[in-house]
Symmetry: C2
């Protein structure tokens, strides 16, 4: 068989598969419509979007996948399929910390798929407000960056808001070497956050062995410093800082390995049901007495519940001095977690479950 005929034959098979795929995609959309109708008939306030069910489907898809398509690509396609089916019912309105093109927008698309309706907001407070007033069903805000630390505006906003955490998303962010100069050999000083310097150590040793490295508070500050100074200094930062401060990109993706990720939270009004692999976020404050924090955390340790993060923030209200944001493994409806939380609550002056939500799948 000639090459042309062989290609023709395979392409006809692909066309046949495509037709079947298309029929199934329409069938799935019709079934999703049935789910919505059943919910509406029952008078229930219809939550068409069920984060825990989506997480379970994605995990199932990855677990049973035999290739040749990779597990991650397969899950990504199902993410888009569910997004399209949901949008056929009622497009999800999602508010995110803008501007268009921000990493928070990328996180929103990664979490909800490409069929949502996104609304760019100017501040984190505006994202909370949009969800609180019902303009959007969900919001997406950054909460933690491996080189810039916690996003305190987001944590502080939870103190006064009754919104829940409905999910988490992580996004990998690359490091760039930025300067006013276009010539790497001119660079004598490199500014960056200490963690960024550490993440790029290998690259810096190879390419700028004689440079002086100066740690500063954030990578944005480093870019700003470089914009205000001479041609012999450079900053490690995201490449959007290049545009904001008018700097050139001297080198791309200079991080030694996967390290620089930003974590985002999905906020909403729902309490999410267990998905099997969940996290729970707590906001607590201790009674003002010695050893209060140790006592607070004891029930978690006793029951073998891992705590993935604890962050303290000064309280803005006068009653308690500090609030703690605690992330633990498990869902607040899991019996062990529930009983630990009950004990923890009795040791706290303030206690709120900010949400239980599925761990990021993609």
């Amino acid at each position: 068989m000639s090459e042309k005929k062989a290609l023709q034959a395979v392409r006809e098979q692909i066309d046949k598969v495509d037709k079947q795929l298309q029929d199934l995609l329409n069938e799935r959309t019709a079934l999703a419509h049935q789910v919505a109708e059943i919910k509406q008939q029952s008078g229930e306030q219809a939550d068409f979007y069920r984060p825990e069910r989506e997480a379970m489907i994605l995990r199932q898809v990855m677990a049973r996948n035999n290739g040749p398509l990779s597990d991650l690509e397969m899950a990504r396609l199902f993410r888009e399929i569910m997004s399209a089916c949901l949008a056929a019912e009622k497009p999800l309105q999602v508010a995110y910390l803008g501007p268009e093109g921000s990493f928070t927008q990328a996180a929103s698309l990664k979490h909800f798929g490409g069929s949502v309706q996104l609304h760019s907001m100017a501040t984190i407070a505006d994202v909370f407000h949009a969800v609180e007033t019902g303009q959007a069903c969900y919001g997406v805000v950054p909460v933690e960056n491996s080189t810039e630390g916690m996003v305190n505006h987001t944590l502080d906003r939870f103190v006064s808001s009754s919104l829940k955490i409905n999910g988490e998303v992580t996004i990998r962010i690359h490091h760039y070497l930025l300067s006013k100069s276009a010539d790497l050999s001119q660079i004598k000083t490199v500014y960056a956050h200490p963690q960024a310097l550490a993440q790029c150590r290998h690259w810096l040793t190879e390419n700028l062995p004689n440079s002086v490295q100066i740690p500063v508070n954030s990578n944005s500050e480093a870019a700003k410093l470089v914009a205000e100074n001479g041609l012999d200094c450079a900053a490690i930062a995201g490449n959007r800082a290049a545009e904001i401060y008018g700097l050139s990109v001297l080198a791309n993706n200079i991080e030694d390995e996967v390290g620089n990720t930003t974590r985002f939270l999905v906020i909403g009004t729902q309490l999410v049901e267990p998905s099997g692999e969940d996290k729970t976020a707590l906001l607590v404050s201790t009674k003002n007495k010695p050893g209060a924090l140790q006592n607070l955390l004891k029930p978690l340790a006793d029951k073998g519940i891992s705590m993935s993060r604890i962050e303290s923030r000064p309280s803005r209200k006068g009653i308690w001095e500090y609030v703690f944001f605690i992330d633990i493994e498990g869902h607040c409806q899991d019996p062990t977690v529930a009983s630990a939380l009950q004990e923890l609550e009795s040791e706290s002056s303030v206690f709120r479950v900010l949400g239980s939500y599925p761990k990021a799948v993609l």
Copy 2:
């Protein structure tokens, strides 16, 4: 049947459909692998990515779609399916005009789907260079914005490059009202490109009836002016300008209707085969004699070939004063187009087909 049981039954059907979808997606990936193998065995320099075949598949999908999923959503899903199948073979390397988060990145994802490997470049020249040296198979650059006009850097680069145009992408861009003030009632003057002012006329009449509108060269210039001036002026611009110039967003999506789109070109080394609905881009220069341009265009008019755009640029070489970038309907292999181009070439001092490529489908 109780609501819970009814939901359970439909969800089981969805799970069954999902399993079939997953099998078909893996089958399609395996078939795409066969296509690649046939091409490799034949010793042909294997172009795994075939823009004209992808465009034909997407058009077919939309034409035969009976819903309930919309034609556009269905095509979007097939765009992602083809992207994933291709990446399973060999991930496409695509260079684009950065930074990360730029509209050109969004255009690259829209055209190639989410499974490509994207490389952010600092300038349009860098994108061309990356494709010319083989670091990337394709490049994506902006070429035309309905409010900011042609992107001349891109056109000029074609004069000295032998790269071809392999495709086009369009992206809708929203208008925002930006200011140093957070109070709309303070605004007395609005700066913007005349076309942006025209596109937002209705909104401006409703919301700022007494303001003075001042046309400037570009929306970016408007944002810059506002950043340098007082609290009583505002600019119409994209919301990334808010970040770059430190302005607040006073209002979102203020355009009266769909109008503001940016067009991007996909550049590569391939000559793309006809897809049935194509465009051809020409670079020509006339002999220096009276009526030269009219003579040049006559063969197109005589043969009924529509010209969708003509743009003149001063030549950088001394030989001819102007070069013309002409977009026409049809593929250069179509018999009518081919014969018109032959005549056109005989009237030109310089004549190059920059590429024939499928019209944007999505």
